[in-house]
């Protein structure tokens, strides 16, 4: 990854989050600076309560930070308490649950963002079908979400997030609810998508193996209050395959992360 190319994809300046009441405030995230390069795959890793999901949801515009500045592709996300819609158009979100609407078929779920943006029916369908081929669920266009397996639903959720071609994909433990084998397959799929589409990806996980396998850089967060503990570069060339996990270099990074997590968790 060439980190110096052009303007950063995401730039966070001193963003901070307090939750709760005046009497019992909770400091979810201490003031945090972070820059994500355009075309980088950044993983947020940490124990529960470290603010990694809060941080991701703030980048996605779902939570307004208490203080600090955020710019996405060089544009402000918030301006005087209002989310900026043209900035949001650069962001696609994938959640731990696929969150497909059960009353829409798979293709209509994937095309939902386009429908909200007023794209015509024929174009929506064409785009949805292309995305279904991209994520490997072609043939399930007219199915209901409940008829698909967990892994396939998550593929559909990724396709939905890609439907309006955002520059940045934000993923909140997207494979956390899947079994280990499906998860490995999805990690490979995500790497392929990342290489084919050249998106910037920020992914939250609590799996060290997933973090080291996928990331260009890993941001390790520590709890109470959530803050960045350290940032680890992962130098392996792509495409990476699953045998990488057995290599000494991979093990070394994973073990040092595990040791540090044990200290801060």
């Amino acid at each position: 990854m060439s980190m110096a190319s052009g303007s950063p994809g995401i730039a966070l300046g001193g963003i901070e989050k307090w939750y709760g009441t005046r009497d019992e405030p909770v400091h979810a995230l201490a003031p945090t600076d972070l820059t994500v390069a355009d075309g980088e795959l950044l993983v947020l890793l940490g124990p529960s309560g470290c603010g990694k999901t809060t941080l991701l949801r703030m980048i996605g515009g779902l939570i307004e930070p208490t203080a600090g500045s955020m710019s996405i592709m060089g544009r402000d996300l918030w301006r005087s308490g209002q989310r900026q819609s043209e900035t949001l158009a650069d962001l696609g979100m994938v959640f731990q649950d696929a969150n497909l609407f059960p009353w829409l078929t798979i293709e209509d779920n994937i095309a939902l963002p386009l429908e909200l943006k007023g794209v015509g029916k024929a174009e929506r369908r064409e785009r949805a079908h292309a995305l279904m081929r991209l994520v490997g669920i072609a043939g399930f266009e007219r199915r209901w979400p409940r008829e698909l397996s967990g892994g396939m639903r998550q593929r559909a959720a990724i396709a939905r997030a890609l439907s309006y071609d955002p520059k940045i994909l934000l993923m909140d433990e997207p494979f956390g609810a899947l079994d280990a084998m499906t998860r490995d397959a999805m990690n490979l799929e995500l790497q392929r998508l990342f290489m084919e589409t050249a998106k910037t990806i920020v992914l939250v996980t609590h799996s060290i193996a997933e973090a080291v396998f996928l990331a260009d850089r890993i941001v390790l967060l520590s709890p109470r209050p959530g803050r960045i503990d350290r940032i680890v570069d992962v130098p392996f060339a792509r495409p990476r395959d699953l045998t990488l996990q057995a290599s000494p270099e991979f093990q070394e990074i994973a073990l040092s992360l595990r040791a540090r997590l044990a200290e801060i968790g």
């Binding site: 949001l88 696609g92 959640f95 969150n99 609407f101 909200l116 490997g136 669920i137 698909l148």
Partner: protein, 273 residues
């Protein structure tokens, strides 16, 4: 690809077909058994036809009703009162339910009254409605509507409140407008609840209409039932009961058909395939 695109759908339950056929056999059998026991009992016990007429006599009476313009007039009045009352109950119940679920202060303000009116036996208010709205059709429509209103209201509130937070996150991240959130998320998500409210409401509307007819006026199946009771025409009473039950079934199944049409994706609206 880890998962093949042509694998069979996950949800096709084995033995599903047998489960849908079974009631079509057992229901007629049980009905036949009931009628047989009834018939045998009437013949062997020598019970007076004023207490319990034979099933054959009841059936003849019902066939007679089907050929009587007057009986159809009564049936029509009951259907009219039921549907009109239900229509207003559904309309107001859904709109007020959505408002209550979305506007916190409205819910806090109205909740004590809703609970109170839920607890009051509403049938006890029928004489009051007759005093206010007279012996005509209006009081029946209002009783039917009042009874049908609460299940529609409470189910709508529940439906709007049960909307998945993850689904809301999706709409928020897509920067959906308030109208889009209502039209694309809240309405379809609440629809199964609303239709369940309709299912309960339509049956209560029939009860309301009939109870209204018991107490006042000279139209409707409820009135016909009271009239036959006063005249000791017990077989006519049974025939009216059959007519009422058939109306109830028809409305209930109509809502069921509406469910299959509007929420085919939902388990309760799923078509057997």
């Amino acid at each position: 690809m880890a998962e093949k695109a042509n694998e069979p759908p996950v949800m096709k339950a084995a033995g599903f077909k047998r489960e849908t056929i079974l009631p079509w056999i057992t229901t007629p059998l049980l009905l036949a058994l009931l009628v047989t026991v009834w018939s045998v009992y009437v013949r062997s016990s020598g019970v007076s036809p004023f207490i319990l007429p034979a099933p054959g006599a009841v059936f003849d009476e019902w066939l007679g009703m089907l050929q009587s313009r007057r009986a159809w007039g009564h049936t029509g009045m009951t259907i009219y009162a039921t549907l009109t009352g239900f229509f207003w109950a559904a309309l107001i119940g859904v709109f007020l339910g959505v408002a209550i679920a979305r506007i916190r202060w409205l819910e806090l303000t109205l909740n004590p009254f809703i609970v109170a009116t839920q607890v009051i036996p509403k049938v006890a208010l029928v004489p009051l409605f007759i005093v206010w709205f007279g012996f005509g059709i209006t009081s029946k429509v209002i009783v039917a509507g009042v009874l049908a209103f609460f299940p529609v209201l409470t189910n709508t509130v529940l439906g709007v409140k049960s909307i998945d937070e993850g689904h809301r996150d999706v709409m928020t991240s897509l920067n959906a407008t308030r109208w889009q959130v209502f039209r694309r998320l809240e309405l379809p998500s609440a629809l199964p609840y609303i239709l369940t409210g309709f299912e309960v409401g339509i049956v209560l509307a029939i009860i309301g209409a009939i109870v209204g007819e018991y107490l006042g006026g000279n139209t409707g199946l409820g009135h016909l039932l009271i009239q036959s009771m006063n005249a000791f025409e017990t077989s006519l009473m049974f025939a009216v009961l059959i007519q009422m039950s058939l109306i109830g079934f028809a409305f209930y199944f109509a809502i069921g058909a509406l469910k299959r049409l509007l929420i085919p994706w939902h388990a309760t609206g799923a078509q057997p395939r």
